[in-house]
């Protein structure tokens, strides 16, 4: 499902003394199958943007096109449920949304709200719990007896079981240990490939953005500063650092090397794998 934001503006608490412009003139195209990373400093409007993607927020100006539907500031929108089944959001700290007696019931909650019958929902619960790397025996436990990491995975399973076409992730790995982070991100990436999903990832991790995304959008002070491939974005580290962002460690490493040796790599490397491939050639050039 294609999503596209056109000149979207959003103001919080319009007509009160607390009115605040959160985002303005945001235009981003997210064609079906894209893995988009949204990066930006805290308070740059990333979270506001992503709540527009399934019509949780209605733009105060501009329009959001989600598949066939167009959401504008005018009139009350009806039948948003259909959109929310297609576009699922995993919010920051999703474990806060757990409420059922058992893990299984909680995972079934989403699908059943969208009209899936109980048998099918349970089947999906079993499938989803395995996808997030937990044992099926956990399904009968209370979600409140689990560890923080397990709760996070259960909440994510609850969203996956909805079988969305587009999955929006708001810092899904915040507060997890390094192994948990990698497992969860790899799982999302694998799903993205297998089910041909669109994935939108809000993250502070430049590593994740460069590793998984085909497209990166930088938000700065409520506006889209730049959209491009990871290579485009991370080739200009000074600009990023000026905006309170960073580049992946690998890029920094490459820059330091280039400075020390006084000559350049053939290209900017974004992953450890890439740089280890380029390294022999780089070193040889030094000898020559």
């Amino acid at each position: 499902m294609d999503i596209s934001l056109k000149n979207v503006e959003y103001r919080y608490q319009v007509n009160t003394p607390f009115e605040r412009l959160a985002i303005q003139d945001v235009s981003i195209d997210i064609p079906s199958g894209t893995f988009l990373a949204l990066i930006g400093h805290t308070g740059s409007g990333k979270s506001t943007v992503l709540q527009h993607l399934n019509a949780l927020l209605k733009p105060t100006a501009g329009e959001v096109v989600i598949g066939e539907r167009t959401i504008t500031s005018e009139k009350k929108q009806k039948g948003l449920k259909a959109i929310r089944q297609k576009v699922a959001i995993v919010f920051q700290f999703p474990e806060h949304q757990l409420f059922e007696e058992t893990v299984e019931k909680d995972i079934c909650f989403g699908p059943m709200n969208f009209g899936v019958n109980e048998g099918e929902a349970k089947r999906r619960a079993h499938e989803a719990i395995k996808q997030v790397g937990l044992d099926e025996s956990i399904l009968q436990k209370s979600p409140f007896d689990l560890s923080g990491g397990q709760m996070r995975r259960v909440a994510i399973a609850g969203v996956l079981a909805m079988h969305p076409d587009v999955i929006v992730l708001d810092e899904p790995t915040a507060g997890l240990d390094p192994r948990g982070r990698k497992e969860i991100m790899d799982m999302f990436y694998q799903l993205h490939k297998e089910r041909n999903l669109s994935t939108i990832l809000v993250t502070h991790s430049m590593e994740d953005a460069s590793r998984y995304a085909d497209k990166i959008a930088i938000m700065h002070k409520g506006e889209v500063y730049k959209v491009g491939t990871p290579l485009d974005i991370f080739s200009d580290p000074e600009q990023l650092i000026k905006m309170g962002l960073d580049v992946p460690e690998v890029v920094k490493f490459q820059q330091k090397l280039e400075k020390t040796f006084g000559y350049k790599f053939a290209k900017t490397c974004l992953t450890i794998e890439e740089i280890s491939q380029e390294m022999p050639r780089f070193l040889k050039r030094g000898e020559a």
């Binding site: 919080y12 007509n15 949780l56 449920k81 959001i89 806060h96 989403g110 969203v159």
Partner: protein
């Protein structure tokens, strides 16, 4: 919906009312609540309305914001009004339509009581809109100070209040967040059959309770870690200062009271 709520919300500004000592504001509100009951005819109620609107104007809080925020209250007031119209059967009938009769006394009481209700809400809203929660509790603690001699836990009470007030916005934010998360999972809070909407409260309330308990525990730990041990020997950064304006405002209320006593019937 949530963002328009004005209960317990503080709007920072620089106005006469903002600058007043929280103690004098508290006393005035408390006295006003009593004074309202003196009024019993058009003139006296008129005086109360003028006084309240004057206070609102002096507070420099935008009227539109205040009245917009009181929408829910208006529903309650209209309900009260209708109850009086329907249930009071005294005095001459002034309107009749089949079995439905409106009595003069019903209309009178309806208007006055809804007005009284409205003024009380408005004056307390002005207090909370112009006074930071922390100042209100400081004021209260200071006013209740003498009760300490009677072993009344004044400091603890003030602390409880300030914690409760402090967490209203946090709780609202949390509610908003969880509502969004559950909406994304297909819960409909504002449309659909009433039964579904009532059921939608469960996935909202349970996470709220869970996080509130967690937060309470964390707060207690944080307080202990910083060596909190009650109010004994506490010094203050913000000192309460009683100024000329405060005395003047009290006198204004006194004048209103005298006026009401003279003109009531």
């Amino acid at each position: 919906m949530m963002e328009k709520m004005i209960f317990g919300r503080y709007v920072p500004a620089d106005s006469v009312i903002h600058r007043m000592d929280p103690r004098s504001k508290l006393i005035i509100v408390l006295l006003f609540v009593c004074v309202v009951f003196i009024a019993n005819n058009a003139i006296t109620y008129g005086a109360l309305v003028v006084y309240t609107l004057l206070m609102l104007a002096m507070s420099k809080v935008p009227m539109r914001f205040v009245f917009g925020g009181l929408k829910l209250v208006f529903i309650l007031i209209i309900f009260t009004f209708l109850m009086h119209i329907f249930l009071t059967r005294e005095g001459p009938i002034i309107f009749e339509l089949g079995w439905f009769k409106v009595y003069e006394e019903g209309l009178r009481q309806g208007i006055f009581i809804s007005l009284r209700f409205f003024l009380l809400i408005l004056i307390t809203s002005i207090l909370t809109l112009t006074t930071a929660p922390i100042a209100i509790t400081d004021g209260l603690e200071s006013l209740l100070g003498p009760l300490k001699k009677l072993k009344f836990p004044v400091h603890e009470l003030a602390l409880m209040m300030s914690i409760a007030l402090r967490f209203i916005p946090t709780l609202m934010e949390e509610t908003d967040k969880i509502m969004k998360a559950q909406s994304a999972r297909g819960v409909e809070f504002s449309s659909g059959p009433v039964k579904d909407r009532v059921m939608a409260i469960i996935p909202l309330l349970i996470p709220l309770f869970v996080s509130s308990f967690k937060r309470a525990e964390e707060l207690a730990t944080a307080m202990e870690a910083r060596g909190y041990r009650g109010g004994d020997g506490r010094t203050r950064y913000r000192k309460l200062v009683w100024s000329g304006i405060d005395t003047l405002m009290l006198l204004l209320l006194l004048a209103l009271t005298i006026l009401l006593i003279i003109f009531r019937t």
